[in-house]
């Protein structure tokens, strides 16, 4: 049977849980990042080991391999420079035309590269922590992506780390559009399975929607959090919901959520 000290400790922990659960969202985020700051030495250690292993791999490469890699990178660099020049011309033309019709100027986005330092230890959420924080100019709600497409958004920001919630997490909804058809919907928490972390649901498509497997899904820009036209994924299949009032499509994400090592944070 439980004795008096057992009851005392149960009540104390229960009260502590209540206090934590009643914290406002932002305060809870700060407390979380402060507590997880205890793991910083270990994160730093693993980061250093990762870098060391990378350096070790580079030192094992032959001179021929390095020369070939250098040549490939030089070509890619030239190609990108050329594209940048073309884009700059298009950008200035776009700005001039917008000015002529007195339309709102588009803001350019800066991107910052962050390394994934921890994943959610619980199986039923999709989140991770990156090594960018307020010190690097990161703010909550900024989009997080990889070269393949959108990954999620910043949830909490600490001084040196941030928590990112990934697509498919119940807390994250993204206004999305299907390219080619003009259909718009909302990316929601997945209904398939927590294991299939590359699948998400696109809800609230119109009842007579004609989305087809293979169509590309991008951000629609509505809501103001995510800029328009960031790739999200491709439609896998769709089904009619609520007696034909709406359609739900399953979308395979462009970014490989299981292999995220580095991500980009978009800051306006």
């Amino acid at each position: 049977m439980l004795k008096k000290p057992h009851y005392i400790i149960l009540v104390l922990v229960f009260l502590l849980v209540i206090v934590f659960l009643k914290l406002p969202g932002e305060t809870m985020g700060r407390v979380k990042l402060a507590v997880s700051g205890l793991f910083l030495p270990l994160f730093g250690l693993t980061g250093s080991l990762h870098e060391l292993s990378g350096q070790g791999q580079e030192s094992l490469m032959t001179k021929g391999q390095l020369a070939r890699q250098n040549e490939d990178l030089r070509r890619e660099n030239e190609d990108l420079k050329l594209r940048l020049q073309q884009d700059a011309a298009i950008w200035s033309e776009n700005a001039r035309l917008r000015g002529q019709i007195a339309w709102q100027r588009q803001t350019s986005w800066n991107v910052k590269l962050g390394r994934v330092i921890a994943r959610d230890p619980a199986n039923w959420w999709r989140s991770l922590q990156i090594d960018l924080g307020a010190r690097d100019g990161i703010k909550p709600y900024e989009p997080v992506l990889t070269p393949e497409g959108l990954v999620g958004r910043i949830q909490f920001v600490g001084q040196t780390r941030s928590q990112v919630i990934l697509l498919g997490n119940p807390d994250l909804r993204v206004a999305a559009a299907v390219q080619g058809g003009g259909e718009t919907g909302v990316i929601n928490s997945t209904s398939s399975s927590p294991q299939e972390n590359n699948m998400i649901d696109l809800d609230y498509l119109s009842g007579n929607s004609a989305v087809r497997p293979g169509q590309v899904v991008v951000t629609s820009g509505e809501g103001g959090v995510f800029p328009a036209n960031i790739p999200i994924g491709k439609v896998v299949d769709s089904r009619s919901m609520e007696y034909g009032l709406s359609t739900e499509a399953r979308v395979r994400l462009s970014a490989d959520m299981g292999a995220l090592q580095e991500v980009w944070v978009m800051a306006p």
Partner: protein
């Protein structure tokens, strides 16, 4: 109270939570992450006092939730209940045997996610669940069960290395020494 034992349990909880957040192997191969904290709470419950159980539950739960998207604190109460249940069963569980340790660890690892889920559903924060969550739950149960005997073995080694060993009485007595040779 031996503070070293409590600190050791906290250190293992700290390392376990970090490992769960950092290591992707189980996630990539099995599709689930094994939680080591319930097994640790079984160990704490079977071998330590109330203070250590409470401390391990509060710190372990807090650390786990800080790295997760769980609302802060939801893991604490389930871990404490597991520790207290193990402590209550201390008298009648043959905790020296592998099957007993495995069964207790498996039961704790099965119960802990259910209790956390119960709290999450009651505070209106339903997580991502599907039919394959059952598969994850089974693997977590087995993984936690297997880790419990490992946990006991690990702490036995720690204690051997760090505790004062009892001085064994030598059987040599000078008054009973047999003098050999001619007197």
């Amino acid at each position: 109270m031996n503070w070293l034992h409590s600190i050791l349990i906290l250190a293992v909880a700290y390392a376990a939570v970090f490992f769960e957040a950092w290591f992707d192997g189980f996630r990539n191969v099995l599709g689930t992450q094994i939680d080591f904290l319930p097994a640790l709470m079984v160990y704490a419950g079977l071998t330590h006092g109330l203070f250590t159980i409470g401390l391990a539950a509060v710190c372990g739960g807090l650390w786990f939730d800080s790295l997760s998207a769980n609302p802060l604190g939801v893991s604490m109460l389930p871990l404490l209940l597991i520790g207290l249940a193990a402590q209550q069963g201390r008298e009648w569980v043959a905790s020296d045997h592998f099957p007993a340790r495995f069964c207790m660890g498996a039961a704790a690892s099965a119960l802990q996610p259910l209790l956390v889920l119960f709290i999450l559903l009651n505070i209106g924060q339903p997580p991502i669940l599907g039919w394959k969550s059952l598969w994850q739950w089974v693997l977590m149960t087995l993984g936690g069960g297997l880790f419990t005997p490992v946990c006991f073995a690990l702490f036995t080694r720690f204690h051997k290395a760090l505790d004062y060993q009892p001085v064994s009485q030598t059987s040599f007595r000078p008054d009973r020494e047999i003098k050999r040779g001619r007197v």
